[in-house]
Symmetry: C2
Subunit: 333 residues, 2 copies
């Protein structure tokens, strides 16, 4: 591949001039056309590695995502990628697969690659590497999941309004025995969503006893199914179930179908995360939609603030309740 020296020779100028023409940092006159012609003829493209070494800017962002195959994170990654490209950055992606050790591995690799900034939706809460990132001075923005003790802006969705609406929705439909399938303890979002929901339910005089809260070992369908099975075996089974993550809801539906129960007639079902598929299930699922693409965009924007040395705030975007048919007909519909 042609390098800047080849171009300089062909145009009969120095490498400095070529660089200046290409970067437009300082005015260049008559040689300009000759340089551009040489560039065209040789098909020259600047070597980004060399440029990165000299300028200490790689033009790449790192994204460490907790689980790429989870549709919520897929969409988030897609949005981040899109936003990054729009701003002229490439994206180096790492999938932690919900394993903190692998996450640390990735962060290390990304730091070694001297990415300009890092986005992390942390798998665990006690990452030593995250601390190192902060110490290294690499701009960091947390995505979807805050990590206590890490001084970095966090971009995520606020479920309060949506959960408040949901509680009202369920109350209006006469559901009095809600249950929640939560992510394993330690996943910050799970616990938080549970507590919020409990609080807003209380506002309607509806209790959420511990027996109707079931944690899964992971975020997979199988766990959702097991928890749902436990709920249905209770002397007083729930009449409405909220799954705090999307995949778990699938398993929950399987169990309901296997027992011949119907949604929403026998049990109402609500999912946290509105992945496109949920509009196509039978019945279409009422869901709490996080503004996924906006989160991705906001995260990149926030990261760029940090990269450019400006202070950056955490961002909290409201999630909203999308009412479909899995809780029963809306009153007045």
């Amino acid at each position: 591949m042609a390098n800047i020296k080849d171009v300089a020779e062909r145009a009969g100028v120095s490498v400095a001039t070529v660089s200046r023409v290409l970067n437009g940092n300082s005015p260049v006159a008559e040689t300009r056309e000759r340089v551009l012609a040489a560039v065209r003829e040789l098909g020259y493209r600047p070597n980004n590695v060399a440029r990165a070494l000299r300028t200490a800017r790689t033009g790449a962002l790192g994204l460490v995502i907790s689980d790429l195959t989870n549709p919520f994170f897929t969409e988030l990654a897609d949005a981040v990628e899109d936003a990054a490209r729009g701003l002229g950055y490439s994206l180096v992606i790492g999938n932690a697969g919900e394993r903190p050790a692998q996450q640390d591995d990735y962060i290390r690799t990304l730091l070694d690659r001297r990415i300009d900034g890092l986005l992390v939706s942390s798998a665990g809460t006690g990452s030593a590497m995250l601390r190192e990132v902060v110490a290294s001075g690499t701009p960091l923005v947390l995505l979807d999941r805050a990590v206590p003790g890490i001084d970095a802006p966090c971009v995520r969705a606020d479920g309060r309004a949506a959960l408040t609406d949901l509680a009202a929705h369920l109350a209006a439909l006469g559901r009095r025995r809600p249950a929640v399938i939560v992510a394993p303890a330690g996943t910050p979002t799970g616990d938080e969503r549970l507590e919020l929901f409990r609080t807003v339910l209380a506002g309607h005089g509806i209790a959420l006893p511990g027996e109707r809260v079931g944690a899964t070992p992971d975020l997979q369908p199988s766990g959702g199914r097991r928890v749902m099975s436990g709920f249905l075996d209770l002397p007083e089974p729930p009449d409405a179930v909220l799954a705090t993550d999307n995949l778990m809801a699938l398993g929950a539906m399987d169990e309901l179908r296997a027992r011949g129960l119907r949604v929403p007639d026998d049990v109402a079902l609500v999912v946290y995360d509105d992945v496109p598929w949920f509009a196509h299930t039978d019945p279409p699922l009422t869901a709490i939609a996080q503004p996924t693409r906006e989160l991705g965009r906001a995260a990149v924007r926030t990261l760029l603030e940090r990269i450019e040395g400006r202070p950056a705030e955490s961002v909290l975007l409201p999630a909203r309740l999308v009412i479909r048919r899995s809780c029963g007909e809306r009153p007045g519909t």
Copy 2:
């Protein structure tokens, strides 16, 4: 951040020695411990940008994927990422969103970044940049979609056996009027799947007339729904429908439900691509499962062959039919 010079000073040796200790290329004796100690104390990590410049190896692979939000490609990307990491490579990802122009953009960026190798599941068939990649000598492997005129190994799934099984399955269940929802013309996989299916159906004396072949403008659910609607309006509507890509099947199901038709009683439904969700729909969908993760692994393996200068062959892995309940009960079940 500390660099190799800092380490050398602290250990009282030259930078060459530090490099040698760290890379183990040539024997180093007594100073070894001092160097390692200095590395530890300073928290030194080699700068990958500088290393890449010098060695002309970045340790990064590029993946340009046609549509990251399509579950098939999500899983493929995940598998590629996993395999790449396992071999010590990072992955720079680009989502073409089925737009050839954006794909070319990405390929260009990746070449500029001097990635060691490139994986592309091409959005279009006439990419000028792909030609340039080959010309540039950057190792290239095509993924899932072959591109005519591009001399690079292609890793994809062979649906012949699965479609043969499917034809037999449908024939055994007495379905005589199959239909196919295909991807827009120009998507190589779509056309190929259609022709294969037509051929194997003929083996059972079943025809696939043009009126029961419907193309969608994109791979989205809405298109699938429109095509299905057209099928159902035919004087002789189909009794079995194959969707050649996963998302289109969702729309097709929507249309069936909207018309009060039942799967499989009224219409059998089969999907190309077995995304995990299909096991959780009602009814669970019979699908043609591509060996997605194996494809990802094979692609990375093939790319590495090319990177290391060995010749590499195309890979064709068999897809298989996963029978669930969307075509009716299996005879003998």
